[in-house]
Point group: C2
Amino acid sequence: ITPADDEDTFKILVATDIHLGYMEKDPVRGNDTFVTFNEILDHARKNEVDFILLGGDLFHDNKPSRKTVHSCLESLRKYCMGDRPVQFEILSDQAVNFHYSKFPWVNYQDENLNISIPVFSIHGNHDDPTGADALCALDILSCAGLLNHFGRSTSVEKIDISPILLRKGRTKIALYGLGAIPDERLYRMFVNKQVTMLRPKEDEDSWFNLFVIHQNRSKHGATNYIPEQFLDDFINLVVWGHEHECKIAPFKNEQQRFYISQPGSSVVTSLSPGEAVKKHIGLLHVKGKKMKMEKIALETVRTFHIEDIVLADHPDLFNPDNPNVTQAIQAFCMEKVELMLDTAERERLGNPRQPEKPIIRLRVDYAGGFEPFSVHRFSQKYMHRVANPKDIIHFFRRREQKEKKEIDLNFEKLVSRPAEGTTLRVEDLVKQYFQTAEKKVQLSLLTERGMGEAVQEFVDKEEKDAIEELVKFQLEKTQKFLKERRTDAVEEKIDEEKKLFCSLSVHCLKNNLVRKKDCIYLFFY
Amino acid sequence: ITPADDEDTFKILVATDIHLGYMEKDPVRGNDTFVTFNEILDHARKNEVDFILLGGDLFHDNKPSRKTVHSCLESLRKYCMGDRPVQFEILSDQAVNFHYSKFPWVNYQDENLNISIPVFSIHGNHDDPTGADALCALDILSCAGLLNHFGRSTSVEKIDISPILLRKGRTKIALYGLGAIPDERLYRMFVNKQVTMLRPKEDEDSWFNLFVIHQNRSKHGATNYIPEQFLDDFINLVVWGHEHECKIAPFKNEQQRFYISQPGSSVVTSLSPGEAVKKHIGLLHVKGKKMKMEKIALETVRTFHIEDIVLADHPDLFNPDNPNVTQAIQAFCMEKVELMLDTAERERLGNPRQPEKPIIRLRVDYAGGFEPFSVHRFSQKYMHRVANPKDIIHFFRRREQKEKKEIDLNFEKLVSRPAEGTTLRVEDLVKQYFQTAEKKVQLSLLTERGMGEAVQEFVDKEEKDAIEELVKFQLEKTQKFLKERRTDAVEEKIDEEKKLFCSLSVHCLKNNLVRKKDCIYLFFY
């Protein structure tokens, strides 16, 4: 299926999870996301694509910094405005497709803007709409006329997805989008048959159906992902955002007979093996109902090399009873890191646009009676050679963790400082707390409002955001509660303390200081 | 001097201190600034002005909320884009005029943007550039192509102001701008002859010289304002921002022979008499070297009525020894408020666009042995009739304050909770603390960097921002200090605690809890 490009061929640049502003304050990596975004836009321009399709998380932070917004506006204005005419038309009702926008039409048809490359994007879980005004960072871009934010549903119970209908020559694309929704909520909606993808009335079968979604594709829990088979089988291609590993070459879901392309992120945000896979974006050609996904390797992405060592697998090298074993381990790790640095350097030599310092991660399983050595001193040796000196080495004990029993549901035990070597995940804490709480404690405010379910949604988020979100949520609920009871005077005080709470909880979290006192205060306030 | 409009006449809409986002969360007043901004832009459009000139503080918050930025972009895109051609040209080097912009040219000449009304703005003290990237909120608008941010100096020691040279027919305007700078710093620079207004090389006298500035015009302290006579006498008209009282009709500075127009704010931000003056914007006509300022009354501004009562002036009505005097005072105040509400209602009847609920302030000087009554209960009576029920009544004791001695410089005494009836101003605290500290305490970090002077600049800001700013400033200094000494590990911790500190200090401030422990910790960290 390799159509030759002609006036009937859509050329679409496909990318996702660009995470603008990620680590923006880091002296080494601070500009990585901006540089790569520019590279992506430049590929779009050079390839004279019809449009850019983004799968969410263009921004890393829900409220991106001024610098990040500024830089993004700059890039879009620079690369996506100009005289090259846009060669496709929109057949659907734009007032429906962009109903929540103050300018509910596609930007390239605005007579006051000279757009050469329209960008269409759904929002991700990082840049989703929040607050009373339910705006997201993409809406700033969209209000400025530099991006078309689509795929936003306003109901939490039922979703009807109206496609944007595009035509270029004889090719017609029905572009469906669904911005990020907490996985468990969306899972439930799918199960309850509350997600409907509307079809064009005429010539239903003549459309190439392209769906872009930003959810967990891999199973993170029973209902904490979206199984591929939930999606309608009339779809031709799913562009799946959120998952950071690049699997951009379309692979078939045999059951549903559609293809999935998972572009992956354009920046390394977690030091896990999936992120070490070479980053690509896609140049999607669609002609009639045929498609071809061309891979474009990103040249400005900082390389990331990750390796694992299991100390217990080397009884010949390491004996836990040897008093000098720690030095031996350290020497071995240095050797490994040097090899990884060599590999990184060789790779970089072939690509002058790649940033100089690589990201290096060595995961050391020290189960079996070994002791971790000082990561701090080890890091210092690589201060000027790697981009992430502070977290090159990660000690863990996989074997022992597997053997451990399930954590007791007793809240009393949970909230004490976690034992060394284990990490207490806030989402576990919150989940288990509410499991316990709902059974035992009289939580009039919480249970009457279905707090339990709401909490589930929050804990799906990044760990570091979980408590902050929870606090906000709970405070808003409490405020509403108080408002209804007309004790207005209390509101102001709550508002004032809101900020403090959020900072406080983030602070606690970062320092692994989630104490009972804080939690109870935060939850019950 | 009333020129007839023709093809040689510039028509300029002049406004300042719009403070977008002020009280945006207030259920009654939340939209006031957005509504009035739209009214201002609509006046510009209806009057077919050549451009809009803003004198700073377009935004109330240095980091305006998403809603505020979104709303501002929406208004500018709606009112300032379109097909009406811009009929003046720019003769100066735009790369100089807009040197700090990523798009260093005026927006209406950008071939990708269809601008009908260019907006030129300096920044104010509320929306001034901050942070490592030295961006301000206006730069977001400017990067989006919807505003021309000018008058920004990058040096803190020497300022050369290059005018934007505009020509329409035979009229030539040299537009000088100077974005807000801490008054004392700018005062010093003027005194040291470090502020230079550059003149066009040719036909120096043929230009109408228009200067827009955003500083204290009234004297707040020996050097805490900019005396009018500091400004060059070749100027024809100064548009003076920052001062909120509307004095838009140009008045002459006889010494310098130029005119000053002080447009005033378009929203009431402080409940002081100056803000009760009817709000106007200006339609400035300039033809050759003649000008005319036409006043345009703003119709959407919420009315504000303020009155003072001095209880001791009414010995016939109030006797402090009478056990029922408090009831009598309260009844008197209610009568006053009712009269003010009547006045407000009459005024509003003539203007259907004015918001329904007025802002009412009754200042009660209770010196002479009287007791304040419960403001809370009083407020509740007006909950549904005034926009600011919580602060209708303001009790103060003018007489006794005058008699009071200067506050002791002893820090120990200062930081205890202030005595009832007095308000401890944070700027006093900070000033006095440093006066004491610099003499007595070994402050290596602070004094070696001229902290004392820097603090002066911060205390000029709004009281509620003072400590927060100070903390930020001090933390940045400390970080720099630590960086230079290569103890990188400490940085991350500081960054984490920064947020906490800022919230904490704001919180302390709002609750009048500026304790010694906090202050010392904050200053010395």
